[in-house]
Amino acid sequence: MKNRIKVLRAEKDWTQAELAKAIQVSRQTVNAIETGKYDPSISVAFKLARIFEVNIEAIFQDSE
């Protein structure tokens, strides 16, 4: 699954660590999600959507 977290994070000028704290996961988890190595649960996806103030679809796109 592709995602735009890195872009959205850059727009907000947040570090991975700051984003990780905000959604209550580790920095390593944010990195794994950003690089597409790990697809988060729906709960984390909603947290990301809330924090970036966008829809989930604006963050994640199905790669197929």
């Binding site: 700051e18 704290k21 905000a22 209550q24 996961v25 580790s26 390593q28 988890t29 990195n31 794994a32 999600i33 190595k37 790990y38 988060p40 649960s41 709960s43 984390v44 809330r50 924090i51």
Partner: protein, 140 residues
Amino acid sequence: MEHTKTELQDWEDQKKENIKHLKLWVGLWCLSMMLAAFGPKYMWDYNMLLTVPAILLNLGIGFKMLVWNKRYLLGLDEFQRKIQLEAMAWSLGVGLVVGLNYELLEDVKLISFQPEIPHLVILMALTVFIGIIAGNRRYQ
């Protein structure tokens, strides 16, 4: 960011607290295991009145350690739990397959010594350890 500072601090603090307690109970469990294993022979000459409580103490501390291990795992985020789960799956699989095979070696006289449970425990612990390192590296 909408999470309050206290809420975030609570999450971080809880994780640290879980690790601190887990370390404490693992340490106590090791000490109680030493007491139950060596006490009867070296300290009280197999006196049942002391051996039985030492074994019960070891069991009790062991269960407390399991409880804190569970709390520690539940306190991790989902990705960290995934790494732990994969490592534990490897450990269980390796323990089962290699453990039975190890026992078989003695049955078919390919080894002359008696297979010991501690060998299996060490193997499983090493497998978890390697699994966690490998998991962390894979998702870096």
